[in-house]
């Protein structure tokens, strides 16, 4: 993928920072609006980004989130430093969660995060090394509106 005709922007997420959680998805939404992306695609991107952001805030130490945008697709990559995921297959199931009671009381940890990202993405890749961290690769296509 060439970066020449694309826009790249890097964001940092700090684990445990609930106060700022969601601010990156809002910034990305604003960028996409300025460019004139279709509103359904913006919403899907915002939801996927928000869920990814929340995962870092809840479980990881810190992460880099990179938005890369070309006329063909939106790509969001999140590389975190954290505990990693032991069983990815299980984590992808709706309702599975390792959230603590406090998190649940705050309305998080319903076990819908990763499945929700997958639902809103056109392509979703996840890999993880337990004890090290998790990498998410989210892609949403721009040239086929209404695919999802």
């Amino acid at each position: 993928m060439s970066t020449e005709n694309g826009l790249s922007k890097r964001f940092e997420i700090t684990g445990g920072d609930f106060g700022k959680a969601g601010s990156i998805s809002t910034k990305i939404k604003e960028i996409l609006q300025e460019i004139g992306i279709n509103s359904t695609i913006i919403r899907r991107t915002a939801i996927a980004t928000y869920e990814a952001e929340m995962n870092v805030v809840m479980y990881a130490k810190k992460a880099d989130l990179t938005l890369h945008l070309t006329p063909a697709e939106i790509s969001i990559r999140v590389y975190d430093e954290g505990p990693g995921i032991e069983n990815i297959e299980m984590a992808m199931q709706e309702g599975f969660s390792t959230a603590t009671d406090e998190m649940r009381e705050m309305g998080f940890g319903a076990g819908l995060g990763l499945p929700n990202i997958k639902k809103n993405a056109d392509r979703f890749e996840i890999s993880s090394t337990p004890g090290k961290g998790t990498a998410l690769d989210i892609t949403i296509y721009l040239n086929q509106e209404g695919k999802k």
Partner: protein, 454 residues
């Protein structure tokens, strides 16, 4: 170019470019050009924040002068329930309505009753609705415009029930024309408004269609005359006056009034544009799916906090709150008949007459590739800026300035931090140029000194 009609106008005589308006504008719709404030039409959502912020009174709300009444054969005043909160506690709606008639209106209609009907209709809609949640009240035209401009994807979550002021006006015109044998257009319905945006919703409704109202008169314009007119109104007994107040409708004057009087469980009441933006961001992220209904008003505390009201907004908020509490305590329920409302609801009586469409801001470029390139340029320009949002360039923030430069609306040299840098570069170039020429010879041929010697 003037695609959108707006409720405010800037008086260039009074404006001295102090930037207060530019700084408070929640959609960054104001710029200072040649020392005067200008509004970017497509970005303005008519919230009226700038009116309150301007120390010179240079931003003028376009409401109707009282004289407009003479254009009609029969006139009706429809006050916003916020008007009821402008006077002392002993002055109840019946007296205010009588006062309006003394001022020259042929009739004054208590909209609170229609508000009550619409509250019931909203309840019906909430019950039937199967789509995405939460549903959002459309009572505040600024909120509707905010969604059209910044949250186009939430449009289908705006409740498509018409506003009480429109329904009341439509109904009154129908009834009066029959009663007096007049044409509907000979009857003038005037909204007594707490904010300028209602004027816009009359001249240019957010949905496709035409308003049933003919104009809006601001509470602040009518306050003084109304106060004196009420002096000669005979006072009814407090208890009797209380009995005519629709508890469901009076709540429309303040934020949370609809939720409270309908006793909705999973609902939120929000006021103030910055707070609303936070809540709408959360809806977009899918966070508030368990909330059924959101009542949102751009003015603090709801319509009682409108920029065209007179009384302190906390006092008027409290007056409405106490009134609701008194009515609850006295068990007074002068409300519409819910069975009747359900019947009308089924006949589509309450629904909006036109469709609401999004009104997204024009992208940086129509071509996607070019738009991405321009967005990248904006980022690059922004990185070179001081990021202190001083506003001296005429744009509210460094980021909006970068956008204005990319759009060709501003020059990079408009930044006062950019200018010294340019001077430095230019003077360096000059120095180099001079060095290349070599040191000046005091007695060069052609100079004064040389000529003398010749």
């Amino acid at each position: 170019m003037n695609q959108y009609f707006h409720s405010i106008r800037i008086d260039p005589e009074k404006c001295d470019g102090r930037m207060r308006c530019m700084r408070v504008c929640p959609t960054q719709a104001i710029r200072i050009r040649n020392g005067k404030a200008v509004i970017i039409e497509e970005k303005c959502i008519d919230c009226g924040e700038c009116i309150t912020a301007c120390p010179n009174g240079a931003i003028i709300p376009l409401t109707d002068p009282f004289g407009e009444l003479t254009k009609f054969r029969h006139t009706v005043a429809i006050p916003s329930p916020a008007l009821y909160a402008q006077f002392g506690r002993e002055i109840l709606p019946d007296k205010i309505l009588a006062g309006l008639k003394k001022l020259g209106f042929d009739d004054a209609f208590d909209q609170a009753f229609t508000c009550g009907e619409v509250s019931f209709a909203i309840q019906e809609y909430l019950r039937e609705h199967k789509g995405p949640k939460p549903l959002i009240s459309n009572a505040c035209p600024t909120v509707v415009r905010l969604i059209q401009v910044k949250y186009p994807d939430l449009i289908d979550q705006i409740i498509p029930i018409n506003t009480p002021r429109e329904i009341a006006s439509r109904d009154i015109k129908k009834k009066k024309s029959k009663q007096y044998g007049l044409k509907e257009k000979e009857i003038g319905a005037f909204y007594i408004t707490p904010c300028p945006v209602k004027m816009i919703s009359i001249k240019q409704p957010a949905e496709k269609g035409k308003s049933h109202l003919d104009g809006a008169i601001s509470i602040s314009d009518i306050y003084g005359p109304l106060l004196s007119a009420m002096e000669s109104v005979e006072k009814a007994s407090y208890k009797k006056a209380l009995e005519s107040i629709c508890i469901l409708g009076i709540g429309w004057a303040m934020v949370g009034g609809i939720c409270r009087t309908l006793r909705l469980k999973n609902s939120l009441a929000v006021s103030g544009l910055n707070e609303i933006i936070k809540v709408f961001d959360d809806i977009e992220r899918g966070k508030l799916r368990n909330i059924d209904f959101i009542e949102a008003y751009s003015c603090p505390q709801g319509c009682v906090g409108g920029s065209l009201t007179v009384e302190n907004l906390y006092i008027s908020y409290n007056k409405i709150l106490k009134l609701i509490e008194t009515l609850e305590y006295e068990k007074i329920k002068a409300c519409p008949d819910i069975q009747e409302v359900r019947k009308l609801y089924k006949q589509k009586y309450f629904f909006l007459e036109g469709k609401l469409e999004p009104r997204p801001i024009k992208p940086l470029d129509e071509d996607l590739g070019k738009a991405i390139k321009k967005r990248k340029e904006k980022e690059e320009i922004y990185e070179t800026l001081p990021k202190i949002d001083c506003g001296a360039c005429g744009s509210p923030t460094c980021l909006t300035f970068a956008e204005d430069v990319v759009k060709g609306k501003s020059e990079l040299t408009d930044c006062i931090f950019e200018l010294p840098q340019r001077f430095k570069e230019l003077s360096q170039e000059l120095c180099e140029l001079l060095n290349r020429i070599g040191p000046m010879n005091p007695a060069k041929p052609g100079s004064k000194k040389a000529r003398k010697e010749e």
